[in-house]
Symmetry: C2
Subunit: 198 residues, 2 copies
């Protein structure tokens, strides 16, 4: 009996991240992914049903990781609403900080998956937005947040804003350092554009 080397799946997945990020899902060729992973073209199909399922796998892992850190975050009773939101930002950034291509993948290819509306990560995505809303709603209830902010709009707005800034960072990490972006986002979302003591 022979056993699978075991790290082939991972190296295919990693290669796929790079190639999807560089060429986009449709521009990415399976042969190129295999080459990047150091395996034969056909081997890709031993570990994944098809091209689409590679993308699914990657997004599943990604959203699952997010889901885990978000759940942990929600449970914590030692943080103010503001601190929770800021931790949430941090946990997103931490997920991508070592991996610009992963950020590009996340930012650019999600709409493929939204179009079909299937896949387990869809669940995570929807739940994530709900969580964000809940955080804001709690904060308002506790008097920590401005009650005239709409929780759903806020969550979507911030999610979109983070995506755009992640995108800029991933394309030019030097020009948009992640720590700077993280600080800026907190400043903007918490205080807005107008001076604090108007």
């Amino acid at each position: 009996m022979r056993t699978r080397s075991g790290d082939k799946e991972k190296s295919i997945a990693n290669a796929a991240v790079k190639v999807f990020a560089r060429d986009g899902f449709h521009g990415a060729k399976i042969t190129r992914i295999a080459e990047e992973a150091g395996v034969a073209t056909g081997s890709v199909y031993l570990y994944f049903k098809n091209k689409e399922s590679i993308l699914h796998h990657l997004f599943s892992k990604l959203w699952h990781a997010m889901h885990v850190s978000f759940e942990d975050l929600l449970k914590r009773e030692d943080l103010s609403a503001r601190e929770k939101i800021e931790e949430l930002f941090d946990s997103i950034f931490n997920l991508f900080s070592q991996n610009p291509p992963l950020a590009l993948l996340f930012v650019n290819e999600q709409h493929h998956l939204l179009r079909e509306g299937t896949g387990d990560f869809m669940q995570y995505y929807v739940e994530f937005l709900r969580m964000g809303e809940q955080l804001v709603r709690d904060g308002i209830k506790r008097g920590e947040f401005n009650a005239s902010v709409d929780p759903r709009s806020f969550t979507n707005f911030v999610f979109g804003g983070i995506r755009q800034l992640l995108h800029q960072w991933a394309r030019a990490p030097r020009q948009f350092p992640l720590n700077t972006i993280r600080r800026d986002i907190k400043e903007i979302t918490m205080f807005g554009l107008l001076p604090r003591s108007s």
Copy 2:
């Protein structure tokens, strides 16, 4: 001599917006666009060089329209910095308000074009971001805005946020009325999440 009916180009372009929005650029078939436009498949190639160029044409028109309203806006001396920014939001929303598919196209298919980095609208896009930064910088200089907000981060963040909310609206206009979104964005960007008199 026979003359082109003249509205065929427009009907192809309009059909393309719908089909691109529904199926995505790669999912969209030329035959489907032709069918939707009420012309033969081959006719599409009388008016456009290829599939890609249809997308280019649409984005060109779109960004050009934005560019025009932004330029007008910048010139106006009767508005405060805050009013200018809010007008800018409005002009974006006005562009899409009658056309959810156009919004979907704008939101979902831009990354194709960013990847190549060519096309005249790229110019507009970059310029648009610069404009946004300049508006914020001016506002800070005039003491209207919080000086610790980074203009570049702010512009990108807000651009991303608007995209996400436009997306939600375009997918379900009833559930996310545009006027609500517009109001919410202004509230969030101007005042942030924290109560105004902390």
